[in-house]
Symmetry: C2
């Protein structure tokens, strides 16, 4: 009874002080289990239809209580990854039942080596949505929105994207645009995708030099929105997404 499974139970499951922290994966025990299972499923270790080890067996393996395991399964069920039925066990659902746009699912997908095709799908979606968002923002922004964008741009210039502060300013800038659309659905969608994608790229980039100075492209978006020119805003945002795609592609070696 001293198996002491190393990947859970007590020792750090990312408890530490990384930047995004807030509500990391493993703050709670069942959260750690859900993270573990979620990444395993997203990385393709289970085929759809596969049966996870049952409550009792699994709980014994990891030396956690059945309750903890059940709460973790509950989370996965809520995100459409698995389904539990008496006698049949807990099965992995087919991919089309997954809530691929759920922030946690996205995070799990990007935790390992993300599927190239899936990344392309996400960028295709961004290329559709974000320019449209910029178009709406150009029509609906008010003085406050513009002020926040301007401040964020200034901060980006000061810190550059190589620093955490600079990337935070970048996020603020994009968030300000999303807020200016006055559309919560749009905001939720883009924030989820952006968070997952940007996090990985910033992670993989690290010391790598940025391929091109991104400030002028951001300024162009800002100018178009400030001028209230929807078409120009959409076009400029399209350029930004393309750049992000290039960036990610080269970071992933695709």
């Amino acid at each position: 009874m001293v198996k002491e499974n190393p990947s859970l139970h007590g020792d750090e499951t990312e408890k530490g002080g990384n930047g995004r922290a807030a509500r990391g994966p493993g703050r709670r025990l069942h959260g750690a289990i859900a993270h573990k299972l979620g990444t395993a499923i997203l990385s393709g270790q289970y085929q759809p239809g596969d049966t996870l080890s049952g409550e009792v067996a699994f709980a014994e393996e990891l030396e956690v209580s059945r309750s903890a395991y059940r709460e973790a399964i509950q989370v996965l069920t809520a995100k459409g990854l698995v389904e539990s039925r008496p006698k049949a066990g807990t099965r992995v659902l087919p991919r089309n039942r997954w809530n691929l746009l759920d922030p946690d699912v996205l995070a799990w997908a990007f935790a390992g080596e993300p599927d190239i095709q899936f990344v392309r799908d996400l960028f295709e979606l961004r290329a559709i949505v974000e320019p449209a968002a910029a178009r709406l923002a150009a029509q609906r922004r008010d003085k406050d929105d513009l002020r926040i964008m301007k401040d964020a741009l200034a901060a980006m210039r000061r810190h550059t994207l190589a620093t955490e502060a600079g990337r935070a300013a970048d996020r603020d800038f994009h968030n300000a645009i999303l807020n200016a659309t006055r559309n919560d659905a749009l905001l939720t969608l883009t924030a989820s995708i952006g968070a997952a994608v940007n996090w990985t790229t910033q992670f993989k980039q690290r010391a790598r030099a940025l391929p091109r100075n991104p400030i002028p492209d951001h300024v162009r978006v800002y100018d178009a929105i400030a001028a209230g020119d929807p078409a120009a805003a959409a076009e400029a945002m399209g350029v930004l997404v393309d750049l992000a795609l290039e960036d990610t592609a080269s970071a992933m070696g695709g």
Copy 2:
């Protein structure tokens, strides 16, 4: 101890044999609780920051065990609706933390009287995404996709949208288009929104006559996709979304 709370415990919480069934809200006890709390939150009965009654108190009120309550809370937490912290209780998170595009959250939002502004947001998003999807479908569809769309169209003509079979065919048609985009993220997004929105409209419509024969508009989308004409496909799909919006607006009396 014979309080016998009527809304849970035993009597039907939608257990019955309605069409969409599959994984209804109340199949499991904690599912019923999550549904109850979820609709309450989405309908604005709790303000962000409000504290739900604690585990013990709540479990006593509804005469369910704490485990059931906790698993329900786990589901809501997974969808970003609430956050639990020791001593502080379980608080409703601000709206921008909610996963508004989660199928369950959408269903809960539409369970009561949906917020007009939110419906408008969703249709705005559809108006952005669905024409783009049709554009991609026109570029990537193969013979199989076209055959499925054609069959669905034929079924729509036979049954009309007044019948369940006709609406199923409508769903099949749109799903076939989404499938033809070869983009899982796009598919997940549109399927979630479409399911929620269409379900309510079809529910509220009931005996009401449809404002206009929708078949020709669908045929126009099909023709454009079959011809491989992206621009025409996007334009025709835009018309379809506009019609759905009109339809929904009149059904909701807005």
